[in-house]
């Protein structure tokens, strides 16, 4: 039964595709002459356009953050718990913008889009985009929507990196950056996990060097494996134990190699479902964007020095059982902000769900979010 009529739901929403034909130059040096961005918005932009909040999605996210796509739609947007009337990101007060990033596979221009020069899908010819490039394209989107300055840019994980980059790239166009379960750069271990995922995809015989569209196939096995290994890093040992333990699908051991433990069949199911809906080239691109993100790199590896560019206020949140981007990684960022004398607040929230905790409302998380966003609303007169 859909909840699109629930009082705290934004209801049925329709994504819009915005076309941009002013070329942009990407970090890799390549130019993108024209591109589309798919966008959803919730709430109303006020007259002085001061109440806009940008939501940045994570690795496999997209523009559909809240509400439903039809009355029959059973599943709401990926952050529906947080966005809606009376929710922490209150659509009665804020104008919320959510997009599918460049390089994505949910309607924005990406590897599976048609390259106008060849009239075939870009595939591996689509340039590797970075967090900085996304922020650049989001700034073009803000121009289009008539938003000079975001009240806040909010994101979890890879989305948090975009919020941070906004603070650095456009200090006068952002008041608050909310960075959740994120990191100022990936560790060797993080990159290693990404490499396993990429290798799984590129070594699938159906990958065809990224031109699988031409062969009317997809690297299903590779993408499934990539998702399975990724998924493990999103959960915690405790939450997997709680959910599956050593539970078997049958009564006894079969002494074979099929999925016998519940956790095995869960991972296979998740991986299979993902491989049907997500584009492999986009997955490669997103993991590269993660790997390359390192705002300190251009500042002699001095993060505090990089942060001196920012003038916005920061809220940084981490989760106790997140081992993908541990609280220590958030603290590394916070400490650099303290050294750079930026305004920053930080809390480590106790939650058992590992990295995924940023998508799951818990009382303390919700309280902090509500209090901080309420303050922003008062500040901008929303």
């Amino acid at each position: 039964m859909p909840d699109s009529h629930a009082k705290d739901s934004v209801g049925v929403v329709t994504p819009k595709t915005l076309h941009f034909d002013e070329p942009i130059t990407l970090a890799c040096g390549q130019r993108l002459n024209a591109y589309d961005l798919v966008v959803e918005t919730y709430g109303e932009l006020n007259t002085d356009a001061s109440n806009a909040i940008l939501i940045c999605h994570a690795l496999s996210g997209h523009h559909h953050a809240a509400g439903y796509h039809s009355e029959e739609d059973r599943k709401p947007g990926w952050w529906d718990s947080c966005i809606g009337p009376g929710k922490p990101i209150d659509t009665n007060r804020f104008f919320v913008v959510s997009l599918n990033n460049l390089g994505g596979c949910n309607g924005s221009t990406g590897p599976s889009s048609i390259n106008p020069e060849t009239e075939r899908p870009y595939g591996p010819d689509f340039p590797v985009v970075t967090v900085k490039d996304w922020v650049l394209s989001q700034a073009k989107l803000a121009d289009r929507l008539g938003i000079q300055c975001w009240a806040a840019v909010v994101g979890g994980s890879l989305g948090g990196m975009q919020a941070l980059q906004w603070g650095l790239s456009y200090p006068d166009r952002i008041r608050h950056a909310v960075i959740i379960a994120s990191t100022p750069r990936l560790s060797a271990q993080n990159i290693a996990f990404n490499e396993v995922a990429r290798k799984a995809i590129t070594s699938d015989p159906d990958f065809h060097g990224g031109r699988y569209y031409d062969f009317n196939t997809i690297p299903r096995q590779g993408l499934m494996l990539a998702r399975m290994v990724g998924h493990i890093t999103y959960l915690s040992d405790a939450s997997m134990g709680e959910k599956f333990g050593r539970e078997l699908r049958d009564q006894a051991y079969n002494f074979g190699y099929d999925a016998e433990f519940q956790v095995e069949s869960y991972l296979r199911y998740q991986g299979e479902r993902f491989s049907e809906t997500f584009d492999a080239n986009t997955y490669l691109l997103m993991t590269k964007a993660l790997d390359y993100f390192d705002p300190a790199y251009e500042f002699d590896n001095d993060l505090a020095k990089a942060l001196k560019q920012a003038t916005c206020e920061f809220l940084v949140l981490s989760f106790s059982t997140d081992w993908r981007f541990t609280p220590a990684r958030s603290e590394e960022l916070v400490n650099a902000m303290i050294t750079a004398r930026r305004k920053v607040s930080y809390a480590e929230i106790d939650a058992p769900w590992g990295h995924d905790a940023f998508l799951i409302p818990t009382p303390r998380y919700t309280d902090i979010f509500t209090a901080y966003l309420d303050r922003i609303a008062r500040e901008v007169g929303a």
């Binding site: 809220l315 916070v334 004398r341 305004k343 809390a347 309420d374 303050r375 500040e379």
Partner: protein, 202 residues
């Protein structure tokens, strides 16, 4: 604002960069930001207090002095480091004081005086660990694990070669009374000290 906080506030120069250890609900930092254009951070571990700080626009960092220390802060990076009513609750007050003066040019500390006459009388008459409005705990569940007297504190400052720049004594209502100024270690309930390293003056 609490009377001890309005005394502290007078000792802080406009535009100071301030670190408040155990900043509570952020009332002092909020005031210093608005009225004295101060900048800085509060450290806190109580979740409700942290949320309140965030809601009122005080920069607050969740950090536990006992388990995490202050190593993430750079030497002499603050004008003033504050600690109100928390010294007696930390695991190593002496180390915290050293750290305060490593991070800041100046430290301001307030704590309850265990030599206050009512506490002395309580112990003498009943022979049991004193309880009062300012110390409303049993010996076994009190967070105040390092209670001291004014004399103890000053002896520590002397041993560490800290300079006591100012000292004020207030009563339980945080009022400055002439009697407690006369005989602070007996009649003062709460002490407010402003300290620095001796060499600052050389």
């Amino acid at each position: 604002m609490r009377a001890d906080l309005s005394i502290i506030e007078q000792w802080i120069n406009p535009g100071s960069h301030v670190l408040d250890l155990g900043c509570g609900d952020g009332v002092l930092l909020d005031y210093l930001q608005r009225e004295k254009q101060a900048t800085g951070f509060g450290l806190e571990i109580n979740p409700e207090h942290i949320t309140t700080c965030m809601g009122r626009g005080v920069s607050v960092i969740e950090q536990n002095l006992d388990t995490q220390g202050l190593a993430n802060f750079e030497d002499q990076s603050f004008d003033v480091v504050l600690m109100t009513q928390a010294l007696q609750a930390v695991r190593r007050p002496d180390v915290v004081l050293d750290e305060m003066l490593r991070l800041g040019r100046e430290g301001i500390v307030t704590f309850p005086n265990f030599a206050y006459w009512r506490l002395r009388w309580y112990l003498m008459r009943r022979g049991r660990m004193p309880e009062s409005e300012t110390l409303p705990y049993k010996w076994y569940n009190t967070p105040n694990i390092h209670l001291c007297t004014f004399k103890d504190f000053e002896a520590l400052c002397y041993r560490k070669n800290f300079r006591i720049k100012n000292r004020t004594v207030v009563d339980g209502e945080h009022q400055d009374r002439w009697l407690s100024r006369l005989w602070p270690n007996m009649l003062g309930q709460i002490a407010i000290y402003r300290i620095s390293r001796q060499e600052d003056e050389l």
